[in-house]
Amino acid sequence: MPAFLQPSSLSEAWSALKENEDVRFLAGGTDLIVLMRQGAVKCGAVMDVKKIPELSVFGFKDGALEIGGAVTCAQILEAHETEGPYGILKQAAVTLANSLLRNRATLAGNLCNASPGGDMIPASLVLGASVVAASPRGEREIPLKDFFLGVKKHVLARDEIVLRVVFPKIQGGGVYLKKRRIRGHDLAQVGVAGFYDGGLRFALGAVGPTPVLVDFGRIPEAELLERKAEIVETVAAEAKPITDIRASKEYRLAMTRLFAGRILDALSSCSRPLAVEEAAQ
């Protein structure tokens, strides 16, 4: 029977960590509470981190967008901050589960759950996000591309709290396309994000043990379509999908190619609307 802790400051959190063993952090709870109820996660205590003021930041600092650890996907969808180049976060958030879950699910929680198909991950990767985490030993900033170690595994220690996710100042635009079986709560079969700001980056979800970033470096805009076949193949070569209940590996690979091509089309003609959602109809 885990204890319930709800610190209202980081210093309270560090004292509570000393007094309790085997603490799990609770943000939106849309993953953790289900796993606890199923008995798949057992812990000594649950620490609700949402009352720690540092985790509620949502805004620009020195040109970079900061999204606190307690900020929900619904807040991301409603905010002006996540427009323009950061609009790809909205494109991803709107596909995450359903409107009820988006009212609880947080960006940081989605990253920390470290699911291969986490919807916020590909969009965050192409934006060059980093994770700022704090522990009793101090703060550190980890580039998101170095954050994931495997299925549901990340680099954070058990006593590190994600304070915020930081997105560097950026121009340009991005697209997130996702395939799933049904609208609503279904998880991604494939998720592909692409971003162009003079440099081209793709990120893939649900096609390997961790989400993957594919960075092409700088490419002149005129070459995006000329090199389409080569770019699509390079992206697809990074996909290492498996067959599971949601899709076969062949289907996932085919969809990765299709989406990479569509995203490239959209990125190379900025006049076209970029928000496209590929839900199963």
């Binding site: 204890a3 709870g29 509470i33 289900v34 649950v46 949402k50 589960a97 609208r183 709560h185």
Partner: protein
């Protein structure tokens, strides 16, 4: 079993009680406060039967710990009652045959209520998005969408 004090408002009424540290908001409502109108379906955030409005936002009450709701305002289906009678939404659900077995209805109505509070004149698309987390196996959804449109004073083509 460790219990902690919880203070919150449900349907405008203040409660100050003890609850188990790992109780969900759903358990608190049903078992401690006796508000059994809110139903448990899947217990995993997929069906929406347990939807309540927490601080203005509809959520799955099976996926929120009761102690996370300290000093919060919760609205449940029981709060729909107007002067002992049915609310506009409840009447519209009956009028449009928007329920058969009725198990999804409390959650469906709370999602719809949260939508109407925020957006009194929703489009069909707004309604579909607001209800995407609420499953119904009886109606095929069209009567539910019609009921919400009609409660919002919108035009219903049936």
């Amino acid at each position: 079993m460790n219990r902690q004090r919880i203070r919150l408002k449900v349907n405008g009424q203040a409660y100050d009680t003890l609850c188990s540290e790992n109780a969900t908001l759903l358990t608190l409502l049903r078992e401690d406060l006796g508000l059994t109108g809110t139903k448990e379906g899947c217990g995993a955030g997929e069906c929406g039967a347990c939807t309540v409005i927490l601080n203005g936002r509809p959520v799955n009450s099976c996926m929120v710990l009761a102690l996370e709701c300290q000093d919060s305002e919760v609205r449940t289906i029981e709060g729909e009652t107007v002067n002992g009678g049915l609310s506009d939404l409840q009447k519209a659900f009956i009028e449009h045959n928007a329920l058969q077995c009725g198990f999804c209805t409390p959650g469906m109505i709370m999602s719809a209520r949260a939508l109407l509070d925020k957006n009194p004149s929703p489009t069909r698309e707004d309604i579909c998005e607001a209800l995407e987390g609420n499953l119904c196996r009886c109606t095929g959804y069209e009567p539910i969408i019609a009921a919400v449109l009609s409660a919002a004073g919108g035009e219903v083509n049936e």
